[in-house]
């Protein structure tokens, strides 16, 4: 059995920098700043330093977990003491050693001592499913957890990013580029969740421009329901017949569109190969 070199203790103000260093290395892609950590903990009206725990090894903070006790409604008329805003982070290199489990049980024990009856954690479905496989937890059913996620793109940055990958592949694969060279068309798209934009294929390149088309486009696509690259062909056909997707100029440009679709299909296989 691996020797336990770390110890779990309550957080002190001296741990601030070390903890933050650990958090930043744990989630480098998140916008986790000192300011955020301070807001979340020291500035919180419910901050209780005795509910913040760190795991320390050789003077370095390798994990951190914290919770706060709030008056929480569990139904319209019932308010109990409960914990919200819990976070548990373990440094990438120190995982699978039981540190998180140990911190979690320490937090739970301390929460119980402070009169907390439940701990509520909104969790990513993926993390929950992993935990569920170990039969440790359960979730509030969907019909009772009434949260809907909406999104709206204000520009075409995400599409442009995808397009830059397409153009990169085009530069690397002249055979597809040559096929695309034969195509020359402009599609004006009004898709739900995106601002209006123009998709242009000319001289072997594909480009996107936000706004109205300057010249008359070959086709105009209007979708009142979500339409994306992940939309299945059958759903797309259904949307076409129900009028959720309207295409002007389809018959006239059907051959070009089919060719373009075939080229796009090739792209997806190239992208997969690149990811492999």
């Amino acid at each position: 059995m691996e020797k336990k070199n770390y110890k779990i203790r309550t957080y002190t103000d001296d741990d601030w920098e070390k903890t933050l260093k650990m958090i930043l290395s744990h989630t480098p892609d998140l916008n986790f700043t000192m300011e955020y950590w301070d807001w979340r903990n020291r500035l919180s009206p419910h901050f209780d330093p005795s509910l913040v725990f760190v795991a320390e090894e050789n003077g370095n903070v390798i994990a951190c977990g914290h919770a706060q006790v709030w008056d929480l409604k569990i139904s319209r008329l019932l308010t109990i003491k409960g914990a919200l805003d819990t976070e548990l982070l373990v440094h990438r290199e120190y995982r699978r050693r039981g540190i998180a489990t140990e911190i979690r049980s320490t937090i739970k024990k301390n929460l119980r001592e402070r009169g907390a009856i439940i701990l509520i954690a909104p969790t990513e479905a993926e993390i929950y499913n992993r935990a569920r496989s170990k039969r440790v937890t359960f979730a509030v059913p969907m019909h009772l957890y009434c949260k809907t996620a909406y999104t709206k793109n204000l520009d075409c940055t995400t599409l442009k990013k995808k397009l830059s990958i397409i153009n990169k592949i085009l530069n690397e694969h002249s055979e597809i580029r040559n096929e695309l060279m034969k195509l020359n068309f402009t599609i004006f798209l009004r898709l739900k969740g995106y601002p209006p934009f123009v998709l242009e294929a000319s001289q072997g390149e594909v480009s996107i421009r936000e706004g109205e088309p300057i010249n008359r486009p070959n086709m105009v696509v209007t979708a009142s329901k979500e339409l994306s690259s992940s939309t299945k062909t059958l759903s797309m056909i259904r949307m076409f017949f129900t009028g959720d997707v309207r295409v002007r100029g389809l018959l006239k440009n059907s051959i070009s569109l089919l060719k373009f679709y075939r080229i796009l299909k090739k792209f997806s296989s190239y992208t997969v190969q690149k990811e492999d």
């Binding site: 955020y36 919200l84 907390a116 990513e124 479905a125 993926e126 949260k147 940055t157």
Partner: protein, 271 residues
């Protein structure tokens, strides 16, 4: 008053009390709601590093504050999140939400944001309709709400005391025997006599009563709505002894079920 009386402005010092009461009014009926003090509201919205005073947009009708939205940067990418959006339901909710969302779009575009995310309560039809009209698309939510019970005996006690008006079982003693308990006590005894409840963790053998046999995960699921009583019984995960008192046992478990919708406004990075 016409729709032109509704407008959206930036937050100014002194709005806090009205905004706090809007928050309590709008989110107050959801389970997992945390009643906020003024200090809590200031901490959450004004001092939030991603929101701040400039991220708070206030909807007014004439001089009255009728709604607000708190927006801030997302922890990843170049997107923005609507952390909170509340309105006074006694006014034209659709118009307030529409005005606020249009202003959010404008504000995010000015800040150079590429997209806006919003997780409103799904039972608010006005918000749903406006989102649909303004071109928001629904994406599959990849979030679940996990309640972890730290003290089931206390939870049962709180629920029964809180719902005492709904108790229609009369004077009776119940023993809930729980298997697979993560806590030391595996028996909750509930005694009702002369309109008073007494709770303990002991099984009184010389006293006749209703025994409810179950396990900890099943009881948790029954309380939070993840399992129905009938299914639990069919799966042999819930049993009532003696059999002729099954009605009383089922009534007790029904009383323990929490059926109000749960909703937590987005708070920070981890949510």
């Amino acid at each position: 008053m016409s729709s032109s009386d509704y407008y959206v402005r930036a937050y100014v010092e002194g709005d806090e009390t009205s905004l706090l009461s809007l928050f309590d009014q709008y989110y107050g009926h959801y389970a997992s709601f945390v009643p906020r003090t003024l200090q809590d509201w200031i901490w959450f919205c004004k001092l939030h590093p991603f929101i701040g005073p400039e991220g708070i947009l206030v909807a007014c009708k004439g001089k009255e504050i009728v709604g607000y939205a708190a927006i801030g940067m997302m922890s990843q990418g170049n997107g923005y999140q609507i952390y909170e959006l509340c309105y006074n339901p006694s006014y034209d909710g659709k118009l307030i939400v529409s005005n606020l969302l249009k202003r959010v779009d404008q504000s995010v575009s000015e800040k150079g944001g590429s997209y806006v995310n919003f997780d409103p309560p799904s039972d608010d039809i006005s918000v749903k309709k406006v989102c649909d009209e303004l071109g928001f698309i629904q994406y599959p939510r990849e979030e679940v709400l996990v309640p972890v019970i730290l003290d089931i005996a206390k939870l049962v006690e709180h629920i029964i005391k809180g719902k005492s008006a709904e108790w229609k079982i009369g004077n009776e003693t119940f023993f809930i025997r729980i298997k697979d308990m993560p806590h030391p006590h595996n028996i909750i005894s509930i005694k009702r006599s002369d309109d008073k409840f007494s709770f303990s963790n002991r099984l009184v053998s010389d006293e006749s009563g209703v025994v409810v046999d179950t396990d900890f995960p099943t009881l948790s699921k029954l309380i939070f709505g993840g399992e129905s009583i009938l299914i639990a019984m069919l799966k042999s995960k819930l049993a009532v002894k003696p059999l002729w008192k099954i009605r009383k046992g089922v009534r007790l478990i029904s009383l323990l079920c929490l059926r109000d919708p749960w909703y937590i406004p987005r708070r920070g990075i981890s949510q």
